[in-house]
């Protein structure tokens, strides 16, 4: 009887965090909620802890089935396994886990600033940047560029079906950056005018490719065709252990929203929300682990999971 109540609490904590701080990454909110769940878990063994955490992560992905939450869940599980390998005594282990969890959360809250510091020198004075949909990391990078007194202009795609681009344009106007919203279909038209493309990512896969809002692949292909650098900014907790070879390989649970998955009869009639961009189209990835070429991403993932 405890379990369902705890899970309901978990969902509530997760939702509350997203409500109170719209700037927080959904993965960070998920990890914070899972850490809270861990604190009040009353199990006595590592196995018990793992299974209740697995249940918790499943519940969370039924609320928000995005890639970011899934990668956060996997990272947290890995975190538990690594820590439990070092300490055999369960209560000590749990203490250390909670302590390290707090440190981890503190470090990732700094990750956006680290990325902004790495990325803004790549934006030259007078640059014209193309970005896609709404990304808080890209926003932070552009903010850092403004702070270092650079002048540049931004083109944002409207990004249907939720018009996320309008939200991005509004946020950019607040920073006094000249911004133009363009149709998703106008990317090929506008590409000759831009100097670089800068997008965020919902997930970074093992091959070094990214999973991001639908439309990103198109932009990458156009950028490659016209020889424009395509930069991706993403925090390191977004690295996932997927290796899609094409668009079909991306699991359905990431492509569609959680509610759609539950209610829809025929998924082929739904529009996917994300697409996969292959690493050959990406020039550089800016993460809090440093500036990486796409081939370096798999190395990072191996270091973690092996």
């Amino acid at each position: 009887t405890d379990a369902p109540r705890c899970l309901a609490d978990l969902i509530e904590t997760f939702r509350a965090q997203l409500r109170d701080d719209p700037d927080v990454a959904s993965a960070v909110a998920a990890i914070r909620a899972l850490l809270g769940f861990l604190k009040q878990d009353r199990g006595e063994t590592i196995q018990g802890l793992r299974s209740s955490l697995l249940a918790a992560i499943n519940t969370l992905s039924r609320v928000d089935s995005s890639v970011a939450v899934s990668s956060a869940g996997e990272l947290f599980l890995r975190f538990i396994s690594l820590t439990s390998l070092e300490y055999s005594d369960y209560s000590k282990c749990k203490e250390i886990m909670i302590e390290r969890g707090e440190i981890f959360l503190r470090k990732v809250s700094l990750s956006r600033n680290k990325i902004a510091k790495l990325c803004h020198p790549f934006i030259r004075d007078g640059a014209r940047i193309l970005t896609h949909a709404y990304s808080r990391v890209v926003l932070r990078v552009l903010e850092a560029a403004v702070e270092s007194k650079k002048r540049f202009s931004v083109y944002v795609t409207e990004s249907q079906p939720d018009q996320a681009g309008q939200k991005m344009a509004k946020a950019l106007r607040k920073l006094n950056i000249p911004v133009t919203v363009i149709l998703d279909a106008a990317v090929g038209y506008i590409m000759e005018k831009v100097d670089l493309v800068l997008v965020g990512a919902e997930g970074v896969v093992e091959s070094g490719g990214i999973i991001n809002k639908i439309g990103t692949n198109q932009i990458a292909v156009c950028a490659k065709a016209q020889n424009k650098p395509f930069y991706v900014v993403a925090e390191s907790f977004k690295f996932v252990r997927l290796f899609p070879l094409n668009q079909q390989d991306v699991p359905d649970k990431f492509k569609y929203k959680a509610d759609t998955l539950k209610t829809s009869q025929n998924l082929t009639e739904e529009h996917p929300w994300i697409d996969y961009t292959s690493p050959s189209l990406i020039t550089l990835l800016f993460t809090d682990l440093g500036v990486l070429t796409p081939s370096a991403v798999s190395d990072e993932l191996i270091k973690l999971y092996l």
């Binding site: 990272l75 890995r78 975190f79 690594l82 820590t83 390290r100 440190i103 981890f104 470090k107 990732v108 020198p121 790549f122 030259r124 390191s236 907790f237 690295f239 020039t283 550089l284 809090d288 682990l289 440093g290 500036v291 990486l292 070429t293 081939s295 370096a296 190395d299 990072e300 993932l301 270091k303 973690l304």
Partner: protein, 298 residues
Amino acid sequence: SGELMDLIRTEGRRMTAAQPSETTVGNMVRRVLKVIREEYGRLHGRSEESDQQESLHKLLTSGGLSEDFSTPYPLLRANVIEAINELLIELEGTTDNIAMQALEHIHSNEVIMTIGYSRTVEAFLKEAARKRKFQVIVAECAPFCQGHEMAVRLSKENIETTVMSDAAIFAVMSRVNKVIIGTKTILANGALIAVSGTHTLALAAKHHSTPLIVCAPMFKLSPQFPNEEDSFHKFVSPQEVLPFTEGEILAKINVHCPVFDYVPPELITLFISNIGGNAPSYIYRLMSELYHPDDYEL
């Protein structure tokens, strides 16, 4: 050792500010800093396998404290000096190490193209010439025409050499089997900063699907990224391009004489260095072994 590192860092900054295009100065400072960190770590009792690099793994398992270099160790000085001597020996042997790999890459009756003058490529070709017969075409690399000196040195070793102008690079490329060049700097994404004219050579090679091999020792690998595309440029006196005697014309035009060229990593096939042959996409890994990420910005 924290003080030692700060001292070295300040000196390094001064030296790189004096001559920014000589990136090897900064690279060596970073190598020394890495040596000091390693020796300190060894004395501090940290295990050899522990990774100094930032990684996801480290994020999850660290206890939170970052390395504090304030504990004094009397043995540290001797260890660091020994390690630096090893580094010196390695540096002195780089050209020979690269030349030793020549036989694997150059086959008989091949036509090799190169540009300008590079000591590394000269040693590489000379070593291959001892056992194989091949031809070399040297692009003269205007306006300084160092290609002429390269051709003279190569022909002294009885290698059949042809000199041609830079404009003929594309025309001749269809008869070339391999392009072997040296470089000034290797950037962190696998790109090159090489002598002016190299980008043309690389594009022509790509068009004809000719492999482009870069012979460069590891100390030329610099952890910088090509962020501001024009920031690495060094311009010298335009006297070489258009002599000052042409005063009437000079008053009406702008003359530039850039020394370096940027070559993107997609155009390069292989890097041959003193530690072996590597693809450009692997450069990030070599860099993580040579330098510590905290030292990328001196």
